[in-house]
Symmetry: C2
Subunit: 351 residues, 2 copies
């Protein structure tokens, strides 16, 4: 799932090259990291060639980036317009079912970082039994701190050695509520990674969001596949309601299961999250041509300009594509205000 | 005198376009502001067309910038190599003497800001009598705060209604010393602005720095003037010792006089000085395409990139010519360390 705009990482993440197409944590781009993670043979299963769902304008750079790793996608499905994750999942399920009716489908965002690749494979293995048994498996991240920026998953009764029924999905909580979640030991962070039989997902969508499924089936029929590229028909896809897979299916379904995932996961939801993840011994996280003097606890990324810092701390400084952001680290969520300002002012060159 | 490199205002000020060629305080460049100040008819005197001394590479942009104001320099003297202010003053004196043996010469740096143009003309007028009487007049800035970044001039006995003999020049003092200077009322800041008869300056140079004068006379003879442009001969000028007019002449001479100048002077010796001078009601000083959110007491200059700031204060942020500086306001003097770093690393593209 490579449909995100990643505006929280503006000005590095732009329409033309959103977060998943950028190298942020390592020398690989996020989608390269993701594709590397989703390949190979593991205990009890083997990854097939990935199916990519992305914006039309990103098909070509994604094919290039994966090609550089020797990865050839099974299909690249291009969205002419963004419709959130439920339609994405539905179309992917239709495509996977056509390709291999017996396959399980793992739905993963293309812009997440997972530091422990082997743990990820173990966690997928842990979910196989429940997915094969007809559950929509979601992977719940071991919650160690009372984060207020994530949704939570409450586990219910045990299904097998690894999976639990989902008792409830919880919206992003207040700090105090998050603390009770952590204390109880019954909650995971919702990372938006899912595994299921395509047929089960499609049946549950028929039950809980038939309008989306119908629109997606129409779109799938109206779209043309050529050379591994499935370009979604714009008119029919535009008519599809936009919704997340969580709201449209996972919350209403009786078939939601959760498997704990302790694998060094981060959705890199902000510059401060990226700083936490990549800071060095000098407490700074730098990328590109950067020279720091008396600088602490700062992230400094540049795609070209030489950046010098003197006597600063707790800053996120990003010089990308002819634009510069300088933000206090604990205010980086306000980049959305800058993005809004730029949208309002028009001449979207900066976005 | 337009020979300065202005490295304290890096990265805006560069070899190719140093401080005096940049618009920093107003929409005019510093040398445009200076040339505007040094024109017209005032009580008791009239400015002649200016003689410019500058680096060879700056002759053409300076001629353009002054041309835009309808100012045609009397002569542009180009230095193929920097030799500090004493040789600059000597060569200028030779040129002015050739042009008009009776003229007084006002020596002024091209990169200073003076907010009160009429006061400046009054101050020049105040110095005429002493200069005509054969003194080397320096203009002492009314010192209101115990600055440690300037040299000081101690006034001695009174010479006329406005001028005093110079009792002593003082190096940049420690804070405590500066405070005693201010308390005494006997000290001015040394702004490096001078007025004299060319013949007196040349005679005093003969007495106190004959080596410089001799080298400058040789250079002047060996140089060719064409179309108002005097290109100094590189070989002879390179052989001239480099020294400041203060050290070489003003300190040793018996003929130094000082006239008080209360005219809103600033040498814009740092980004923080420029911020003090230009900050608006919102406490920020911005230039170019800047959008601030929750930002205080900061200077933000950009020559092209869109710059957004969020939740920061007391910063100097300068995005110029493909380079970005982010410095704590009270550490901006350390830009010299960055300039040194860039020199050492080579590939002087950034300088």
């Amino acid at each position: 799932m490579s449909g995100g705009a990643g505006t929280r990482l503006w000005p590095a993440s732009r329409q033309a090259a959103p977060k998943q197409l950028l190298p942020l944590v390592s020398e690989q781009t996020m989608i390269q990291e993701t594709a590397e993670r989703l390949r190979g043979q593991w205990q009890g299963f083997e990854f097939s060639a990935p199916v990519i769902v992305c914006n039309t304008t990103h098909a070509s750079p994604i094919a290039e980036q994966l090609g550089a790793l020797g990865i050839k996608p099974g299909t690249i499905i291009t969205e002419p317009i963004a419709r959130n994750t439920a339609p994405c999942a539905a179309i992917a399920a239709l495509a996977v079912r056509d390709q291999d009716p017996d396959a399980l489908m793992l739905l993963a965002p293309a812009d997440h970082h997972i530091s422990d690749k082997a743990a990820f494979a173990r966690v997928v293995s842990d979910g196989l039994e429940a997915a094969a048994a007809g559950y929509l498996v979601t992977f719940g991240i071991t919650a160690q701190t009372p984060e207020t920026g994530y949704g939570y998953i409450q586990k219910g009764e045990s299904l097998d050695a690894h999976a639990f029924k989902v008792a409830a999905f919880k919206e992003k909580p207040q700090k105090q509520t998050a603390e009770t979640y952590i204390a109880s030991g019954q909650y995971f962070w919702n990372a938006g990674i899912f595994m299921c039989k395509p047929s089960v997902l499609l049946a549950e969508m028929q039950r809980h969001c038939a309008d989306i499924l119908t629109a997606c089936e129409k779109t799938y029929q109206a779209s043309h596949k050529h050379n591994g590229l499935l370009s979604l028909d714009k008119q029919t896809f535009a008519a599809c309601p936009a919704d997340s897979i969580d709201y449209a299916v996972m919350e209403p379904t009786e078939k939601a299961a959760v498997v704990e995932a302790n694998m060094g996961w981060s959705d890199i939801g902000s510059w401060s999250a990226l700083w936490e993840l990549t800071k060095g011994d000098d407490t700074n996280a730098t990328r590109g041509d950067v020279h720091t003097i008396d600088t602490k606890n700062s992230l400094i990324h540049t795609d070209a300009p030489f950046v010098a810092t003197i006597g600063v701390e707790n800053l996120a400084i990003v010089a990308h594509q002819g634009t510069v952001l300088v933000a206090k680290m604990d205010k980086v969520q306000d980049v959305k205000k800058v993005v809004e300002f730029l949208k309002k002012r028009g001449g979207n060159g900066e976005l």
